[in-house]
Amino acid sequence: MPIQRLVIKLVMAVAASGVLRSVPAATQVSAAKEKAALVRITQGPEIERADPEFAIVRWTSNNPGGSPEHYGVVRYGTDPTKLDQTAKSPIRLNPAHSYTVFRVRLDGLKPATTYYYKVEATEANGKSDRMPSPVRQFTTPR
C-alpha cells in the first residue's frame, strides 16, 4: 500500500509540474532615465497651499533620472537651525520629461506658526539626488 501511495503521489507531482507555466514576458516597467550628473532646482521651493494644519511644498528641478519612483523630502521645523521634522511624498518620474515637479504634503502642522524648511529628493531606495536647497519659511494661517 505504501508503494501504491508513493506511485500516486509521484503521478500527482508530475501532473502538478505541468501546471506551471510562465506568463508571457510582459514586464513594462517604465524605462529608467540615466542619472543626471547635476541636479538643480529651477523653480521654488515654494508653498503651493498652506492651511492651518496642512501645507504642500512644491519645487521643480531638472529631471534627476534614476529609479522612476522618487520621493520629494522636506526637512522642516520652527527653528531655522533645527529642521528636525521630515515629510516625504512619492512621485513618479517621467523619463521623457526634461524637468520634474516635486510636491510634498506636510500634515499635522500648528495654526499661525512659522515654519522653516529645505527640500531634497531621493530615489526609491533612499539614495539622495544631491539637490542643493535654500532654507525658506512660511506661516500657517489661523
Binding site: 507555466r21 506568463v23 508571457p24 492651511d51 512621485i91 513618479r92
Partner: protein
C-alpha cells in the same frame, strides 16, 4: 369500446412525452435555481436607500444575458475541429489554443459555480463594460456587486478583465524599491504558485464569501465534474483528474455558502483523502489557467482600439485626440504610470512621428499608487455588520474598516489574503493606501446603444477607481487635476456651502499615507481635461473589428445632467468615522500615521 378508443391516445401521449424529453438538454450548463434564495432569509442589513431599487430586476437581467453568452460559448465548443494530440510534449495541434480559450469562456459564464447556482464570474464582469460592472444602478450606489447570497456584497469595484493576464508575477524590485505585478487592486493574487497572477485571480471569487461563495475549493472540481462541458475539460487537460471519491454530503456542503457557522471556520469542509484533495487542487488550478486563457485571448484582450490603429500608422488622431495624447504624455503626466509606449515627447506644435517604443502598450506600469480617493460611504461593505442567516458577518468593524490596499495584503490583514512572502511585510507602511495602477485601456467601454460614460448621454453609468467614488471620466481627470487645489478637510457629503463636491471640493483622502503627488494640481484647463477624455476614448477596443459579445446588454441608458456632477444626486453624508479597526491598523508594522 372505451378501452379500444383510449389505446391510441395513450400511445400518442407516450410518444409526446418521449419527444418532450428528447428536446430537453441533458443538463444545462448553468442551473436555474430560481428558488435558491428562498432557502435562506434575505440578508438586508442596509439602511434605506443603500441598495438600488431596481436591484432584483437588474440581477435577473444580467443572469438572462449570461445565459445568452453561455449559449454562444456552447456553440463555439460544438464548432471546434476534432482534436489531434501529437508531439512531445503532447500538443492539441491546430486546435489547442481555441479549445482552452473556449473552455475558459464556458467556465466564465457558468452560473453553477456558486452555491445557489446563480452567479458566474462574469456576473460582475460583462463584455459590454470591458468585463467590469454591468449594473448602472449598482455602479451609482453600492459599488460592490451582490454575491450568491442576496445581499452579501464585496467591498471594491469589479476590475476589468481586459489585459489583466499581462501583469507579471508580483515582485519586489530591490533596485527600484517598488512592487510590480500581481492581480487585484491590492495585488493579493501574486502568481507565486501558478507563476501567473491572472490564473490565481480567477481562483479567488469562487470561494470569496461576498461573491460566488463556495465553502471549499473542492466544490469547483465537484461542479465541474457535473458540467456539460466536462468532455472539453478532459480533452484539454487529460482524463483522470475527476477520479475523486466525493462523499455523499458534498452536494449539501457545496450548496451552503462559505462563511456559514456550520463550517466552524474550516476551509476544507468536504472530507477527502489526501490524494483526492490533491486531484481537486489540480482541477482548481486548471480552472484558473483556463479562464486566464480566455482572458488573454482576442475575445477579451483584443488590441483592437483606435489607438492601436494609430500605432500601426493607419489612423490619424483628430485634433482633440492628438492634443489629449500630448497632454496625457506632457502636462497631465499620466504616462508616468499609464505607460503608452511612445518613444517621443511632443512639444507644442509638433506632430507625433516617432516610432513607438512598444507597439502594444498596456497603459500601466504594473505598479501601485495611493491617489487619495475619499472614503465612499455608499460602499456596501460598511453596512454588513450583523450576521446573515448562515451566521456570517462580512465586516464586524463597520465604518472602522479602512482600505489600506497593498499595505493590508502585505500584513495579511483583515479584508485581504495571506501574504506568502514574509520578506515583503516590512514594506507595508510604505504601501498603505496603494492600489494597483489599472490599465487605461477600455476605461471608456460601454454597450453600443449607450455610447458614452458621460452625462448627458445617453450614457452607461460606470464607476471608477477601487471604491467607485468617481462616476465619469470627466470627474476622473478633474480629480487628478485638482485634488489638492480643492482639498477640504471634510468627508464626502460634507463639502462647505457654496462649493460643489467633485467640482470645487474634494473631500479628504480615506488613507493619507503615501499619497502620490505626481498629480493633484496639474494646472489643466477645463478644455484640456476634455481633450484627455477624448484621448481616453481612443483606447476602447472594438474599433478595428467588433468587440466580441458587446451586443448583449439589454438594460437601459441614462440621460441628462452633466459629467461634472454625474452621480452627485446619490451622494450621502459620511457618518462620523470611528477609529480604524485593530484587525487592520493594529497589525505590525502598524501604519504611520494611523488612518
Amino acid at each position: 369500446m372505451q378501452g379500444r378508443a383510449l389505446a391510441p391516445m395513450i400511445w400518442i401521449f407516450a410518444l409526446c412525452m418521449i419527444a418532450l424529453c428528447m428536446t430537453l438538454p441533458a443538463r444545462k450548463v448553468s442551473g436555474q435555481n430560481a428558488a435558491a434564495q428562498t432557502h435562506a432569509r434575505l440578508y438586508d442589513p442596509y439602511p434605506p436607500g443603500i441598495l438600488p431599487s431596481d436591484l432584483n430586476a437588474e440581477i435577473e437581467r444580467v443572469r438572462r444575458e449570461l445565459r445568452v453568452l453561455e449559449g454562444r460559448a456552447l456553440e463555439r465548443w460544438y464548432g471546434l475541429q476534432p482534436p489531434i494530440l501529437t508531439g512531445q510534449p503532447p500538443t492539441l495541434q491546430n486546435t489547442g489554443t481555441e479549445a482552452i480559450e473556449t473552455l475558459g469562456e464556458l467556465m466564465n459564464y457558468d452560473q453553477n459555480i456558486s452555491p445557489n447556482k446563480n452567479r458566474a464570474c462574469s456576473f460582475c464582469h460583462m463584455p459590454y463594460a470591458a468585463f467590469s460592472g454591468p449594473i448602472p444602478s449598482v455602479n451609482l450606489t453600492m459599488i460592490a456587486y451582490p454575491g450568491t447570497v442576496h445581499f452579501r456584497a464585496g467591498k471594491r469595484t469589479a476590475q476589468r478583465y481586459t489585459y489583466s493576464p499581462f501583469f507579471p508575477v508580483l515582485q519586489y524590485n530591490r533596485v527600484q524599491g517598488l512592487f510590480f505585478g500581481g492581480n487585484f487592486f491590492d495585488s493579493r493574487s501574486t502568481g507565486y504558485l501558478l507563476r501567473n497572477p491572472d490564473a490565481e485571480q480567477a481562483q479567488h471569487p469562487p470561494v470569496d464569501t461576498g461573491e460566488m461563495g463556495f465553502p471549499d475549493t473542492a466544490c469547483i472540481a465537484f461542479r465541474l465534474s457535473q458540467a456539460e462541458y466536462r468532455p472539453l475539460f478532459e480533452q484539454v487537460w487529460g482524463k483522470g483528474l475527476f477520479d475523486i471519491k466525493f462523499p455523499p454530503e458534498t452536494e449539501r456542503i457545496c450548496d451552503t455558502p462559505g462563511g456559514a457557522a456550520t463550517f466552524a471556520g474550516s476551509a476544507t469542509p468536504i472530507p477527502l483523502t489526501p490524494e483526492d484533495r490533491t486531484r481537486s487542487n489540480i482541477v482548481f488550478d486548471r480552472w484558473g489557467q483556463s479562464i486566464d486563457a480566455y482572458e488573454q485571448s482576442l475575445q477579451v484582450s483584443a488590441f483592437s482600439s483606435k489607438f492601436d490603429t494609430f500605432l500601426k500608422g493607419s489612423y490619424k488622431l483628430t485634433a482633440d485626440e492628438m492634443t489629449g495624447l500630448k497632454l496625457f504624455d506632457g502636462k497631465g503626466n499620466c504616462n508616468s504610470c499609464h505607460l503608452d509606449g511612445r518613444g517621443t515627447t511632443l512639444k507644442r506644435g509638433q506632430t507625433d512621428t516617432g516610432a513607438a517604443a512598444t507597439v502594444n502598450p498596456l497603459f500601466t506600469c504594473f505598479g501601485s499608487a495611493n491617489e487619495g480617493l475619499p472614503l465612499n460611504p455608499r460602499d456596501a461593505i460598511y453596512y454588513q455588520t450583523t450576521p446573515d442567516s448562515y451566521g456570517f458577518t462580512a465586516n464586524p468593524y463597520g465604518f472602522g474598516y479602512r482600505d489600506l490596499g497593498l499595505g493590508a495584503f502585505l500584513r495579511s490583514a483583515f479584508g485581504s489574503a495571506p501574504n506568502p512572502n514574509a520578506s515583503w511585510t516590512q514594506y507595508a507602511t510604505s504601501t498603505d493606501g496603494q492600489m494597483q495602477v489599472t490599465t487605461a485601456r477600455n476605461v471608456a467601454m460601454t454597450p453600443p446603444q449607450c455610447p458614452t460614460t458621460e452625462a448627458p448621454g445617453p450614457y452607461f453609468q460606470k464607476e471608477f477607481f477601487h471604491n467607485g467614488y468617481i462616476k465619469s471620466l470627466k470627474q476622473l481627470v478633474h480629480f487628478y487635476n485638482t485634488r489638492d487645489k480643492y482639498k477640504y478637510n471634510v468627508t464626502s457629503g460634507h463639502c462647505p456651502a457654496g462649493t460643489t463636491e467633485k467640482v470645487d471640493c474634494w473631500p479628504m483622502p480615506e488613507v493619507r499615507n503615501n499619497i502620490d503627488m505626481t498629480t493633484g494640481n496639474l494646472g489643466l484647463t477645463d478644455k484640456e481635461e476634455d481633450q484627455i477624455v477624448a484621448f481616453l476614448l481612443t483606447l476602447t477596443d472594438g474599433y478595428t473589428r467588433p468587440y466580441p459579445n458587446s451586443d448583449t446588454y439589454t438594460g437601459t441608458c441614462m440621460t441628462g445632467g452633466s459629467a461634472k456632477t454625474q452621480g452627485n444626486e446619490s451622494l450621502i453624508p459620511t457618518p462620523k468615522l470611528p477609529a480604524c479597526a485593530t484587525a487592520i491598523c493594529g497589525v505590525e508594522p502598524v501604519p504611520n500615521p494611523i488612518p
